[in-house]
Symmetry: C2
Subunit: 365 residues, 2 copies
Amino acid sequence: MESIRKSRTVGSGGKSVMGKITIYDIAREAGVSTATVTRVLSGHPSVRADTRERVQRIIDAHAYTPSASARDLEGRSTRTIGIVMPPVINPYFTRLYNAAYEEAQANGYYAALFQMNENQPIRRELVDELIRRRLGGVIFAGNIWSSERSGLKEALERLRNYMPVVAVCPPATQLDCICVHSDLVGCSRLPVRHLHTLGHRRIAFIGGSMRLSDASRRGQNFLEELRALDLPDDPAYHVDCGYDAEGGERAVLRMLTNLDRRRWPTALIAFNDLVALGAMKQLKQMGLRLPEGMAIIGCDNQFFCPYTDPPMTSVDLHPEEMARSAVRELLLSHDGDAKTFSMMRDATLVVRESCGARLGYRKLG
Amino acid sequence: MESIRKSRTVGSGGKSVMGKITIYDIAREAGVSTATVTRVLSGHPSVRADTRERVQRIIDAHAYTPSASARDLEGRSTRTIGIVMPPVINPYFTRLYNAAYEEAQANGYYAALFQMNENQPIRRELVDELIRRRLGGVIFAGNIWSSERSGLKEALERLRNYMPVVAVCPPATQLDCICVHSDLVGCSRLPVRHLHTLGHRRIAFIGGSMRLSDASRRGQNFLEELRALDLPDDPAYHVDCGYDAEGGERAVLRMLTNLDRRRWPTALIAFNDLVALGAMKQLKQMGLRLPEGMAIIGCDNQFFCPYTDPPMTSVDLHPEEMARSAVRELLLSHDGDAKTFSMMRDATLVVRESCGARLGYRKLG
DNA sequence: TATTATATTGTTACCGGTAACATATTACAG
DNA sequence: CTGTAATATGTTACCGGTAACAATATAATA
């Protein structure tokens, strides 16, 4: 009647024997079978009250917690999803991750973060890692699909063989997966129109590396918008730079020193708020007053936007909502139907003082 | 000679059968035993070259990746450590996590982030989760040890029964674990002395909730420092607030409106840069010029410090270094020696323009 | 009280790998 | 050509749980 297995052989050599209490130990001590312990653990109804209580007491006494690996192995999911994105250092991705984490948690899942360098192709190593862990699904975010990354398609296909995949990114390449993306057209249109309305004609765009798809997409949209409004689309009004404040500084310096003062733009649209932050600093350093000397609009509506001087007008792409949608879709597609569709979240322009208008919260479809 | 197990019974009901290739499938297809496949996987030498090649080809063909759970269950570690801290929304913790992630990765480990609300006690649920996953170790960061949290000690003890624990926090309560902490004395001393040197006498401190240990510690240190320099330690010069910019705004408003103008402080030390950011905004809104009207020093030396107006002087606690040390200690203590000691990283004052001095990078022991 | 239905509990075959130990090959010396 | 060492490969017992199925105890019904 007793468990056949010999009691745990503790101490594997000199190594410590941390927390080696198993379900067998509990079963033995309670004088029941492991099946009964499992039943108590899962709250199965057919356990007599006194038995349940006795087993539970022993579980509590040892603070026994069943191993996730063992459970997982047995067939049930680890209730973990993966989120692959650029380092969380960029506050945009911080927000994205945070929202995903909360949404996952609300659904009883854990969101494991995998950070990848934005400029590098997805390493095979990473895909291996994801598969090895047999996650319940993966969300990709960021400029992952940029240019024709070597083996991306294959890697994704392989991954999808193991788990559902959702991407939070511009629907660039045709990918066979659910894709949640931001409104890249609105993201360019909103600030351009806003500035146009305020009377600006020479509008410049700084930021993003054109090698990365969504930056180049944004650049194109920006140009199209300018043309649509009959504004000058001078190539000098477009300077490439990185994603950070330092890039913004450099970009402004480069653009303005290369340009005759009379041709200076009167407004700047930055790839993101970090770039805008750097741009603002450089502009002030060059003696310009903001927003009179130069209007500026950022993107992402970061926490610091209300606190810049002047407070920064910015486009909000609502990463939180995208993250939440992504997680929901991922959990829904859990059964591997391999649905393929994309959904978009509208951009919103949050008007502050950095371009001289003070219209409050303005939402443009 | 063939594998005894019947070939995988695919399709558990109507659910999808994603990536169900196991080591048995590979073994069968290669006409070898699973042991041989394992050998090929682990690079064991005693496999004939042609066998190895044949097996490897099949592994590659199926892009087979062994399950982490199964391996884990068999006894080896998941090579994962956990990092428990407040939401990554606070950029200080972002830096902390990021550095830990990189250090872990450099050692072949994965750093799993567990976010907890700073104001809540560690939920038993969380500890369960950590144990359930049988992590290789856990790092706690943030104000976890604040006040006498119910059951913290017990939870920690239980956790330590399963895995090594390292804390990145002020060594407040006596905890039986390795503790890496920042220089809380220097963190108060550096800015106070700096301001004193610049001739300030009325220095105020805003931020942090006194209920949380490291905030109150900082508050105390601040007062001690004032007294040591014979500066006024008026209680009105100390306003509690949260950890964010909004809290900073409110705190400044509250402090200054409650104070006769002649008694206004001439310098402000903020709990962190976010608080300082809010304070700066409020100060400007009240018509003060910075740094002439009010000097201000933040803490954490966040990425935006060089970009505030004026650029913000700030204390750097070097969270990255603490994170790296924590990870290293954790991996070292892997064998459960249960060492208990604490190590401190010195604080550094990074001088910018927000207090009227421009001395460059100044390090004070 | 015999009998059947029902409530409890136990037995056991996996889950996907790993590695100790057993066995089969091959290589080489005598 | 045979014996033995060295290689290469197979067998099998776990790892810690789960749950289908079997078995037993208890309650309900005839």
